[in-house]
């Protein structure tokens, strides 16, 4: 009886419950005042800084080119526009089969090609051309990782190999043809048995001086080329990496241009190609496996910028040391690490923009009897989950911009620094991406599982970033190794540290005051020293902070600067809080660590009113986010 009474009371309350809008009971049973959507602007402060200026600072360059490319994609049906809740979204259809996804990816490439997107990507020269290319690739990445990788393999790996490993005869023959997609290239380095250890690959190439041809062979199953993007369906040519045997001597790894398909798409003789099969993501990329059965190629197909073979079969190289030769050889591959690091940051921007906008409109639980339920982002715990990640994304954006410029303006003297910086940032930024995607997925609850809401799908699409173009763990070890080597060498030389960002080590180690005040915690100087240690992760964290401070110092607009200072403090304190090394090595006392933690909570509350302005500065058009970032009630309504 108790239950019946209770139930009756509840029903009565529903029927009589009227609403703030004053509809009268004479309307009969009408829909009860629903949980309705209110836009994020209503719960945010007016933007304290100019969002366009922040965007320019973060994107850094070629803003109009980026917007032009966004425009191109939005206006074509090839990019899968969908109407949801009165807005158009363009997101690839991940429900298509693997074959369909591969085909539509090629069609999209053709569309972009027809509209002049790739003009100058291989034949263009100079700083401006390079920066424009990188900007456009970043925009493509925002739409679809598969599309970006397919294009990246053709232009940056295949095209890059021709540019940097090849010489004039290769440039003349292949660059324009590649830029116009008369040929489709791919990059055959990785094998079933060798990925990280490139020098251990087993494909073997010999020279036939009678016919002046190289003969490439896959001697055993573990030597088959694996994960070769573009090879399974479309590529006509490839750069094959192989051990080179001259006169019975193994001269190490070299690169050779080989045709694998003819103009009609038939696989060439003595070449076998199989599919790598369905993947957990990136099914728009046709990854293939390649076997070479004594394939003969002309001598000119050796990419000979570092070493060559004469017509009569003599091995020639200006670099005598094979280690050095390999190093010079591999240097151009940095571009992969750069583009991957940058794309990782954009992926976090998409997920944070969606998750934060959603949390500014989704409510759960009231704290007062008749009050509205509370917005997700008004919960300190929700703030604690998302806002530190937002701060890290800002920080990593600035480090990414630094890396980009370092790469584009590279000089021989900076090659070693570039290698260390690109390795550290590729690892750090891609790991940050996977962590952010997971957190954002959880922060969106069930909606995070819907493919069309993007965040969850991005996990599968971007997971590969932590292991391709260099396994993150191996890369971080390379960074540590470089740090140790530099330390030892500097000590031996008895000279101060320079380069590799170790200059701060020349000063005496600072003592952290045991009583940390708010202003101390937020001062850049304090923050700079505290992260000054050595080895992989610490190196990355400190490098990222340094690039952040530099970017902040270059800003003259006061509101922008103040906001950046706030975010920078969040970045540092969260880094101090999360990395146990600070406690372990005694750089932070237990009391100080507690103070840091409390300060983070304070910062969350200070940043919360500006969360919308911060994600609005990402410059990602609404169409490239997803329905839960906008009116998700309308998007899910029956009439839709």
């Amino acid at each position: 009886m108790e239950k019946v009474n209770f139930r009756t009371q509840v029903l009565t309350r529903h029927l009589l419950n009227n609403d703030h809008r004053g509809t009268t009971a004479t309307a009969g049973i009408s829909t009860s005042p629903c949980l309705s959507y209110t836009p994020p602007e209503l719960s945010s402060k007016p933007f304290p800084f100019d969002v366009n200026s922040m965007r320019k600072l973060m994107d850094g360059h070629n803003i109009e080119d980026r917007d032009w490319l966004f425009n191109l994609m939005i206006q074509s049906n090839l990019f899968n526009p969908k109407l949801r809740g009165g807005k158009i979204f363009v997101v690839p259809d991940y429900n298509q089969s693997m074959e369909q996804q591969r085909e539509i990816t090629m069609k999209r490439i053709q569309y972009l090609l027809d509209h002049g997107v790739f003009e100058g990507w291989l034949t263009g020269k100079g700083f401006d051309a390079e920066m424009r290319k990188l900007a456009l690739l970043e925009v493509i990445e925002i739409f679809d990782h598969s599309l970006a990788i397919k294009i990246g393999v053709h232009f940056f790996l295949w095209g890059g190999a021709i540019l940097f490993f090849g010489t004039k005869r290769h440039h003349d023959k292949w660059l324009k043809a590649s830029e116009d997609y008369h040929i489709k290239g791919c990059f055959a380095m990785t094998e079933l048995g060798h990925g990280s250890n490139v020098r251990g690959i087993e494909t073997i190439t010999a020279y036939d001086s009678k016919t002046e041809e190289f003969v490439i062979n896959t001697p055993c199953e573990s030597a088959q080329k694996y994960w070769i993007g573009g090879a399974a369906n479309h590529a006509t040519h490839t750069v094959v990496f192989s051990q080179l045997n001259i006169d019975g001597n193994n001269q190490g790894v070299h690169a050779f241009i080989t045709q694998i398909r003819d103009g009609d798409g038939n696989i060439c003789p003595n070449i076998r190609i199989a599919d790598c099969g369905h993947k957990i993501g990136l099914n728009g990329v046709d990854n293939g496996r390649i076997w070479f059965d004594n394939v003969r190629i002309p001598r000119e197909n050796l990419l000979n910028s570092v070493a060559d073979v004469s017509a009569d079969g003599k091995y020639l190289s200006a670099i005598k040391d094979p280690d050095q030769r390999f190093g010079a050889f591999m240097a151009p591959l940095t571009s992969g690490r750069v583009t991957i690091a940058l794309s990782a940051v954009y992926s976090t921007k998409i997920s944070l923009a969606i998750a934060i906008r959603y949390s500014l409109t989704r409510r759960a639980f009231s704290i007062t009897p008749n009050g509205d339920e509370v917005l997700l982002l008004d919960y300190p715990s929700h703030q604690r989950r998302l806002l530190p990640l937002l701060a890290k994304t800002y920080a990593m954006t600035f480090s990414g911009n630094y890396l980009k410029l370092l790469y584009v303006k590279r000089t021989p003297q900076l090659i070693k620094t570039l290698h260390v910086v690109s390795s550290a940032l590729k690892a750090t930024l891609t790991w940050h991406n996977m962590r952010t995607l997971q957190e954002c997925r959880e922060a969106c609850g069930g909606q995070g599982l819907k493919t069309e809401n993007r965040i969850g799908q991005l996990k599968g699409e971007f997971d590969v970033q932590s292991t391709f173009e260099g396994d993150n763990n191996v890369l971080m070890q390379q960074v540590s190794k470089a740090m140790l080597a530099e330390y030892v060498a500097a000590k031996r030389r008895n000279k101060p540290f320079k380069d590799l960002g170790l200059e701060h080590m020349n000063k005496s180690c600072p003592v952290i005051p045991s009583h940390l005040t708010n202003s101390t915690l937020r001062s850049a100087q304090f923050q700079g020293y505290q992260l000054a240690e050595d080895l992989g992760r610490a190196y990355s964290d400190r490098l990222i902070l340094q690039t952040f401070i530099e970017a902040e110092n270059n800003v003259t607009d006061t509101p922008l600067k103040e906001m950046l200072g706030l975010i920078r403090s969040m970045y540092v304190l969260v880094t101090l809080d999360e990395d146990v090394a600070f406690l372990r090595y005694g750089y932070l006392t237990v009391e100080a660590a507690a103070t840091v933690r409390r300060e983070i909570v304070k910062l969350c509350a200070e940043i919360r009113p500006h969360a919308l302005s911060l994600v609005s500065s990402f410059g990602i058009p609404d169409a490239f986010l997803s329905p839960i970032a906008f009116d998700w009630v309308a998007a899910n309504s029956w009439s839709n």
Binding site: D67, W68, I74, Q75, G86, D622, A623, S639
Partner: protein, 372 residues
């Protein structure tokens, strides 16, 4: 009274009543419409708004001549206030909580598009004539045109906005500018049917309109048949590239439409062309509110004549002296720099000037958002 008001059950019919000036929107008319729409929003006895024009036009545009007069008297701020009010009206219409049906039986250009395009239903007739002719005047397609033009299929919006192309009723329906097409002789019956039913639900309104509407055939020479060329050329990154692409097409095939389009571009103000292109491209990526805020900044810069005085010169040549021979300055597209255009998108550095303030609407029903 320049805006007539009729009440027919839960329908309010607003008629623009300035037929001698083709219903050009004066400051008073814009204020009047703003008051009417605002009060009807709160009035629960109003379910539907019908907007139409008296005479042979729906509305030929904003009262640009008055604005030019203000500028010549050194009073650009007064002109700016006109646009501030007009864009506020546009935003109110775009986010309105009740359906608006506009009967576009005649000329609908410039400000007239602003007063109708943001409404849910736009009914064209065989008399309709649509255009956004601002680039010929030294202005740029405003009134939220960067929002609605950019949402037309492909790059048709760039074509319409840059060349000032004229579209008839059939073309308006084909590209989405009009949601329906009804023969003019059936309009009276149609209005009566709407008023009798007084529906608030857009689906019901739609079904009523469908009883009277048809899908007319496009003319053979319609520009809408040229979408392939339009998409190829008007998707190019810059004005220079657009013209070059059109000229390449013109070499390959003899087509009056191509040469006419090139001519329209070459006759327009070079500064206007660059402003308009960037406006449409940015508008494609923004919601209606952001578009209007941005357009307001742009129009203020145009009124101040900082970067170019083409607006005054265009109005003189086309509207006042009517010699149709404006002397643009800069005179060539290559002479219009990126910095000049950038300036027009920034805030105005003037004491007391404020960005367009638009209310954040909490009850944005999804159908209230302009659909194209």
């Amino acid at each position: 009274m320049k805006v007539l008001v009729e009440e027919k059950s839960s329908v309010r019919i607003f008629t623009l009543n300035r037929p001698k000036q083709l219903n050009a929107l004066s400051f008073a008319m814009v204020s009047g419409l703003l008051k009417l729409f605002t009060s009807c929003a709160e009035d629960s006895s109003v379910k539907l708004i019908i907007l139409k024009g008296r005479g042979r036009a729906f509305c030929a545009g904003g009262d640009v001549a008055a604005v030019v007069r203000d500028i010549s008297q050194g009073n650009w701020r007064l002109g700016a206030e006109y646009f501030r009010k007009e864009y506020t009206l546009n935003y109110l219409m775009a986010t309105y909580n009740k359906p608006q049906v506009s009967l576009l039986d005649g000329i609908v250009m410039g400000g007239g598009a602003g007063a109708s395009m943001h409404g849910r239903f736009r009914v064209a007739t065989e008399n309709s004539l649509f255009a956004m002719p601002e680039t010929a005047l030294g202005l740029f397609p405003d009134v939220g045109a960067s929002y609605f033009l950019s949402r037309l299929p492909g790059f048709f919006g760039e074509y319409v906005g840059l060349t000032g192309a004229r579209l008839d009723g059939a073309e308006m329906l084909a590209c989405g500018i009009a949601t329906h097409f009804v023969r003019s002789e059936r309009l009276t019956l149609f209005e009566e049917a709407l008023c009798k039913a007084s529906p608030s639900d857009p689906l019901v309104i739609s079904s009523i309109i469908n009883e009277f509407s048809e899908v007319p055939n496009l003319k053979e020479k319609s520009s809408y048949h040229k979408l392939n060329i339009i998409n190829k050329c008007f998707s190019r990154r810059t004005i220079e590239e657009i013209i070059a692409a059109l000229e390449r097409e013109g070499v390959q095939r003899k087509d009056d439409w191509i040469s006419f389009s090139i001519q329209s571009l070459k006759k327009a103000s070079p500064t206007s062309l660059k402003l308009s292109l960037r406006s449409i491209r940015e508008g494609r990526l923004q919601g209606i509110g952001k578009c209007l805020v941005r357009e307001f900044r742009m129009v203020c810069h145009v009124l101040r004549g900082e970067v170019s005085k083409d607006f005054t010169e265009g109005c003189r040549a086309i509207l006042l002296d009517k010699d149709k021979n404006p002397k643009w300055e800069p005179s060539k597209i290559e002479l219009v720099s990126d910095e000049m255009i950038d300036r027009c998108f920034s805030k105005v550095k003037d004491d007391g000037w404020e960005d367009l303030q638009l209310p954040v609407r909490s009850d944005l029903a999804s159908y209230a958002i302009a659909k194209l």
